[in-house]
């Protein structure tokens, strides 16, 4: 069974009131238990792919399909995609002043549980688990009381995304340049978090610029995205080759 199936995906954005194609026929298949790294030069459409998977407004799918567990996602609102188990770790996590992280996490867990017809988790249990996770990601537990990403450093924001990933336990995690702006210690912490998330029934799509993240999170597949298409796929050695030669030899 395929977890994520993207076929012939074409996506436009509006640029100066005219449609501009970004993805031009992209195929991707992720099976449970797999980690797929997607690499590529700036402007190749990596973040567009992440946003389109999550249903962010502002993108127009003109052709192709996206399926999660066999069901099409294209007509679903972003929250419905999340409720079905898709998680996006943001490249630029936003601040939500006045809404505490704890409140946000509880609201998220409650909404997910409600949509899935499950019982809402007890607040005490959520606090306990969130504290433990925060601790394991070197986030000061007091951060749970602070506003969502309010006044967080770049590294804290990224660790917060991973903390949410581990707490919400989605089926498919899409990490959009989670490594950008991290120092080496934070990179290690975040990578450990992602590795902890890996399980035989969960999939990961790892979008990154740099090979260094893949030293910590070893992918099953590496794809090169350029000009809106996947032009090369391979195993982790492809990433090393890219590191050595750059993208030019492929495009």
């Amino acid at each position: 069974m395929t977890l994520l199936q993207v076929e012939g995906l074409k996506v436009d954005i509006n640029a100066d009131d005219a449609p501009m194609p970004i993805l031009k026929g992209l195929d991707l298949e992720v099976k449970p238990g797999e980690v797929h790294a997607i690499m590529g030069p700036n402007g190749s459409g990596k973040s567009t792919l992440a946003n389109v998977l999550a249903g962010r407004p502002g993108y127009r799918v003109t052709q192709g399909s996206i399926r999660l567990d066999g069901d099409s996602l294209l007509d679903l609102a972003p929250e419905e995609r999340a409720q079905r188990g898709l998680f996006l770790a943001f490249q630029y996590p936003v601040e939500i002043p006045g809404v505490s992280n704890m409140e946000f996490l509880k609201a998220s867990l409650d909404s997910l549980a409600k949509a899935r017809g499950e019982q809402q988790p007890a607040a005490a249990a959520v606090i306990g688990e969130a504290r433990e996770l925060a601790n394991s990601l070197d986030l000061d537990p007091s951060f749970l009381k602070r506003g969502v990403n309010e006044g967080f450093s770049g590294g804290e924001k990224k660790r917060n995304e991973i903390m949410q990933l581990l707490l919400l336990k989605p089926k498919l995690a899409v990490l959009d340049e989670t490594d950008s702006g991290l120092d080496i210690d934070a990179l290690q912490t975040v990578s450990e978090g992602v590795n902890r998330f890996r399980r035989e029934d969960r999939g990961v799509v790892l979008i990154t610029h740099y090979q260094r993240l893949l030293e910590h999170i070893v992918p099953d597949y590496v794809h090169v995205l350029a000009e809106g298409r996947i032009i090369q796929s391979g195993d982790k050695d492809l990433a090393l080759e890219l590191e050595a030669k750059g993208y030019a030899w492929l495009t």
Binding site: E79, F87, I96, V99, F104, A107, S108, G147, Q164
Partner: protein, 493 residues
């Protein structure tokens, strides 16, 4: 006199949950206002001559006044002769009785609204049932023009606290009423206060004796039911030296296509070392999405910190009304007295709010704090208007003002008019202001975590209002949060 039977049901499917109409027979004065009407009201209540005269003087003042036009709100001219100035359920003509004799239709109204009239009950849905009995709330219930019942009277009496309809206080405590009525807001203070002074029908009266800490929260619940009537209630709270009281006010009205006028006056007097905390959750019917119907809420509220070290704190959550025109103020006369104003004003659809406060510093070392949170959504207009005045006598006065506006969507407006008049150079005045918008990125971040947009907006708005909500009594804070969410329904497409 006309006798009318209201026999209507409200269309289902509107979000305003308090919008139903109660079917009771009412005695309602025909529309119009003149000396005869004022005399009728005064006579109906068996008032002493001084009060009849007082009302008539207010009427004369009102007749010579112009409706204020300076507020940032727009509405067609009000025909004050088309409004009925008195309406009372027929069964209440003899004045408040014991609860057993109150019209069961009226009792059901309050049951539906979650207001406890039986003393064993606490504010339903507002109070946690596990809370200890010490958290009981005494309620005075005003239905159209008359007070229906006041709960916990005997327990309050033991503490020496007087809490009763003002119409009753006129008879039972004439000396207090005569001394303080109009002492903070004179009978010709402004157009609407003068109108209220002429025709006020009922409201609550509170007196806390020297050194007494009121044993429970006091509360008034206002309900407009009859059509084409105005509601003109009058509240007078006196906290004698060293006393303390916390007072809550709630209000709702049925959904009607016509606009209805609500022109209340609230006067607070805090003597030396006394403290009054006055909290309002205003949920009058706001009109429909196209701006049809709704309450015109033109209210004068003012407190006087008469003695040294006294304190008056206003906290308001304003979500209802088609138009709100309201500036709960504090006159800081006693040295070292403290005035506070914490406000959340939310407007959606076609609602308009022009609200804020006045802090008038007269005593030395007086201190005031203003925290105002305005939220605008839909096509609404939300305006903060505030005055901080430091008199020459107010040496070392301090004020801190914070005005924050939050916009949802791009068809609403937020405006801030802060006036500062400082006549004493030892004063310290601080002003902070901000305007922000609920961004698409914030909404998407919430959605991506499974939270739908309405819940997300509610959460963001609640976060924005946190500083004010924490000033509310806890049960009210929960209710206020829910109310904001309901009021915002449909604010994001």
């Amino acid at each position: 006199m006309t006798m009318s039977t209201v026999d209507e049901l409200v269309e289902a499917g509107n979000d305003y949950q308090a919008g139903f109409i109660t079917d009771v027979e009412s005695e309602t004065l025909p529309p119009g206002l003149d000396e005869e009407v004022v005399r009728f009201i005064s006579q109906k209540k068996g008032e002493p001559d001084w009060l009849t005269t007082w009302r008539l003087e207010a009427l004369q003042g009102w007749q010579a006044m112009q409706e204020p036009k300076w507020a940032h709100v727009h509405y067609p001219p009000i025909d004050f002769q088309a409004i009925s100035y008195y309406s009372a359920p027929k069964s209440q003509q003899e004045g408040p009785k014991s609860l057993d004799e109150v019209d069961p239709e009226i009792l059901r109204t309050y049951e539906k609204l979650g207001i406890p009239l039986h003393e064993q009950a606490a504010l339903a849905g507002v109070v946690n049932p596990d809370a200890d009995a010490g958290r009981q709330v005494a309620v005075d219930v005003v239905f159209d023009s008359v007070s229906i019942t006041t709960t916990f009277k005997s327990r309050l009496k033991e503490a020496g606290v007087i809490f009763c309809p003002i119409s009753e206080a006129v008879h039972s405590h004439p000396e207090l009423v005569q001394k303080y009525l109009g002492s903070v807001i004179s009978k010709q203070d402004n157009f609407y206060a003068a109108l209220n002074s002429a025709v006020f029908s009922d409201g609550s009266f509170v007196y806390i004796p020297k050194g007494v800490r009121c044993p429970m929260e006091l509360s008034t619940y206002f309900r407009i039911n009859e059509r084409n009537t105005g509601q003109f209630e009058r509240t007078l709270i006196i906290a004698d030296e060293g006393s303390h009281v916390s007072y809550l006010e709630g209000c709702t009205a049925p959904m009607r296509d016509e606009n209805q006028l609500h022109a209340a006056v609230v006067e607070l007097v805090a003597l030396g070392d006394a403290e009054i905390k006055y909290s309002t959750v205003q949920n009058w019917y706001p009109g429909d999405a196209d701006g049809k119907g709704g309450i015109y809420n033109f209210v004068t509220k003012r407190g006087l910190c008469a003695g040294p070290r006294s304190k008056i704190s206003w906290t308001q959550v304003e979500t209802g009304s088609a138009i709100t025109w309201k500036y709960p103020s504090v006159v800081l006369r006693g040295d070292h007295s403290v005035g506070e104003f914490y406000s959340v004003a939310l407007t959606n659809n076609r609602q308009q709010a022009d609200t804020g406060t006045k802090m008038i510093h007269m005593g030395k070392h007086t201190k005031s704090t203003i925290v105002s949170k305005g939220i605008s959504a839909g096509n609404s207009e939300n305006c903060y208007r505030g005055l901080v005045r430091v008199s020459p006598t107010a040496a070392h006065a301090r004020n801190f003002t914070q005005c924050d506006s939050l916009l949802i969507g791009d068809t609403c407006g937020a405006h801030t008019f802060p006036y500062i008049e400082n006549k004493n150079n030892s004063a310290t005045l601080e002003h902070e202001a901000s305007t922000s918008k609920v961004s698409d990125d914030q909404l998407f971040a919430c959605q991506q975590r499974g939270i739908d947009t309405e819940k997300a907006v509610g959460m963001i708005v609640n976060g924005f209002c946190k500083e004010v909500f924490r000033e509310l009594p806890m049960e009210f804070a929960v209710e206020a949060g829910k109310l904001l969410e309901v009021s915002l329904e449909g604010a994001v497409g």
